[in-house]
């Protein structure tokens, strides 16, 4: 008799532990088949939760309000995390436990390969939903491929934006240095990294030692995706030994660092943010989403002092971009797929680029890129640059991009830290590179 409570509590504990382990193995069994009922996915009232990071801009650009008009029975609840790294850790943990997942989750290019390789069965396969699959022909091929398994059978999400790159620069500072020219002339002078770095040295000499570029990172993160391969092989496994992108990018980035033409600012740090107006640097690698960032950091006083050169040293490159996926374990799968499909259509992607509130999200949907609202867009802030033409032109040149891999984000972070050691502390580039390889070994195991 006396031991009965003990037995009972043991049973309670066993039940608790069983509950815990049941959580950890959930998720995989959920079906990934979805049938949409009408344009909103469902006719019933539903709340769709959307997990985002950074500055996605859907809410700011009025997309949720517009969707409410289209689908009055759907309420959207947005859960946004500032840092994409934190967001990804959280998403991974929830995928492992199969619970707490939002109905729509944003997936950044830096970790889409991990989702494709390790979690494809935990997401709704967009190819099985006719409304979503119909969008495939509108997408840039490489964008669709990034979210698709190597066998081509499963696609975990639909693309939102892409990040074609150009060079943004301070025309007033170049004028002051006596090096002013039209954007086209500058793009001509900046066709290769060698000529770009040479220009930086001339600027430094003309301005009594001022830095031309913000950071060696501007060179590195651009050039690394200009090779046949960046951090990974075709299977998405890390492979730096055979990467032409990493070798060239490291070479030019350390050259820029050692020539002293960079302002040695850590990208996205407070000091870097301030320097958009202080004139500590005159040029920066500029994926299209960087334009609204520059505008918000430098403020209206610098309108017309910033400009965009229609070209990029070393050809073309893409920096970033995201996808929206629907976990198979989501409560509101049909409504979520309907929302993702709507956001991926031409009109919405056009709005995300042209919106005054928080535009700059360049369409990954080729139909949207062809739309006159995108193609003819100019930016008053960037000295009336024909930004639609510039970035559309660069995006059009990107037929294939290097494969993305499962540890791209982590490897990129290690290399950029070591690059900053070369830049700020004068570490020998070869030693820094060896150190980076050693640290990457810690990640790949």
């Amino acid at each position: 008799m006396g031991s009965r409570p003990l037995v009972r509590s043991m049973l309670a504990l066993a039940a608790l532990l069983a509950g815990v382990s049941a959580c950890t193995s959930g998720g995989q069994t959920a079906s990934s088949k979805v049938t949409l009922e009408g344009p909103c996915g469902t006719k019933k009232d539903a709340t769709v939760t959307v997990g985002l990071f950074g500055t996605f801009g859907f809410q700011e650009n009025g997309m949720w309000k517009e969707y409410k008009k289209r689908c009055p029975n759907i309420t959207i609840k947005q859960n946004q995390v500032t840092a994409s790294g934190d967001y990804w850790t959280r998403l991974k943990t929830r995928l492992a436990s199969g619970s707490g997942l939002d109905d729509v989750v944003a997936i950044e290019q830096g970790f889409v390969a991990d989702v494709v390789q390790n979690h494809a069965d935990e997401f709704v396969n967009m190819q099985t939903v006719p409304q979503a699959a119909a969008l495939k022909k509108d997408y840039y091929g490489w964008k669709w491929k990034q979210a698709t398994t190597p066998d081509g059978k499963s696609t975990v999400g639909l693309g939102t934006d892409i990040g074609p790159e150009a060079i943004c620069y301070r025309s007033d500072l170049l004028d002051k240095a006596g090096m002013g020219a039209t954007p086209e002339e500058l793009a001509q002078k900046w066709t290769t990294w060698d000529s770009f770095i040479k220009f930086g040295k001339q600027y430094k000499a003309a301005t009594n030692g001022k830095a031309f570029l913000d950071s060696a990172q501007s060179v590195f993160s651009t050039a690394v995706y200009q090779g046949k391969r960046a951090y990974s092989d075709e299977q998405g496994q890390p492979d730096l030994e055979h990467s032409d992108g990493v070798k060239t990018a490291w070479k030019y980035a350390t050259q820029a660092a050692e020539a002293g033409i960079t302002a040695k600012l850590a990208q996205f740090s407070d000091a870097w943010n301030q320097a958009f107006s202080s004139g500590k640097f005159a040029a920066i690698a500029c994926p299209t989403w960087m334009m609204p960032y520059i505008q918000s950091q430098a403020g209206p006083a610098y309108a017309g002092k910033w400009a965009v050169a229609p070209g990029l040293p070393g050809g073309y490159s893409n920096w970033g971009g995201s996808f929206l996926g629907v976990p198979a374990a989501a409560d509101q799968k049909a409504a979520a797929v309907a929302l993702v499909t709507w956001l991926s259509e031409k009109d919405q992607q056009v709005k995300m680029w042209t919106s005054k509130a928080q535009g700059g999200h360049f369409p990954s949907n080729d139909k949207a890129v062809q739309d006159p609202a995108v193609a003819d867009a100019t930016s008053a802030y960037f000295s009336d640059a024909p930004v639609g033409q510039i970035f559309g032109g660069i995006a059009g040149k990107m037929k294939t991009l290097p494969p993305v891999g499962i540890y791209d984000t982590q490897i990129g972070t290690v290399l950029s830290t070591q690059l900053s050691n070369v830049e700020k502390r004068g570490t020998d580039p070869d030693k820094a590179y060896a150190k980076a390889m050693d640290q990457i070994q810690q990640i790949t195991g």
Binding site: L13, L95, A96, Q410, T417, Q418
Partner: protein, 320 residues
Amino acid sequence: MTSHALLGRPQPASAKQAKPRSRLHLPGRRSGYVYIAPFFIVFLAFSVYPWIDTAWMSLHDVRLSTYDERTWVGLGNYTDLLTNSYFWNAFFNTFTLGVISTVPQLCMALGLAHLLNYKLRGRTFFRVGMLMPFATSLAAATVIFVQLFDPDIGLINWVLTHVFQLPAVNWVDSKWPAQIAISTICTWRWVGYNALIYLAALQAIDTHLYEAASVDGASRWRQFLHVTLPGLRPTIVFTIVVSTIGAAQMFGEPLLYDPSGQPMGGSENQYQTLALLMYQQGWSNDRLGLAAATAWTMFLIIVVAVSVNLLVARKRRMLS
């Protein structure tokens, strides 16, 4: 039901003698278990189970992304760890950061407590003020200190260069300055807390001892040495043990001190602690098995460090 039975305390000896087996059948006995059960269920679910799971995980190659695919590697993670330069770097950083943040901290706390034990004007104000840093959140305090120690625009370098005409110190990139800056945050936050504990213990020391000492002509310093210190010995051992455990797990300060926001402990891992390394292995690098091995190794290190503390304390007590 008596309150004694309710709390599950031993019954008075007389009851035991009268009816030896009866205490098993007292109704209050069983309800005692019910009252302590919530704690133990939570303890089992959130402490014991994670410990066992972590130990089991540390024997496998587990990645966060492929959580359900575990490969048995035996002690592989531990041998990997012990031959890993990042582990030893973090180990020594934890040790040096621990020493430079706890030793001055406890000495200062002792001195403060000793002074605040005298009848001072505005004593309550000082006592409360001393505890204010402890009530400040770690993140808020660290953010302020990061700005103070900023090598380019920080107040401390400004004072060094403008007031004292000394060269500026790179509080972020250089190893020792960075470690000193981080220990400053730690010391600032915890010195008041420890002083409060010492103060409480001091109040228990008979004031007649101080009176007698001053009648004998002992200065405050001699009173400190011969009355305060011996009276505080058990409390000092307690604070040393608690500070050792705290220092061994130092995490928030070095994480927030790194301008990159990464758990690297500086661009050359110059102030990466074991807890930061564990976090990096598990959550940045995705290697949960290795991180679990680090967690258990840290636990063993703490057990050893605390045992050494207690052994030294016991040796001293036996000698004196």
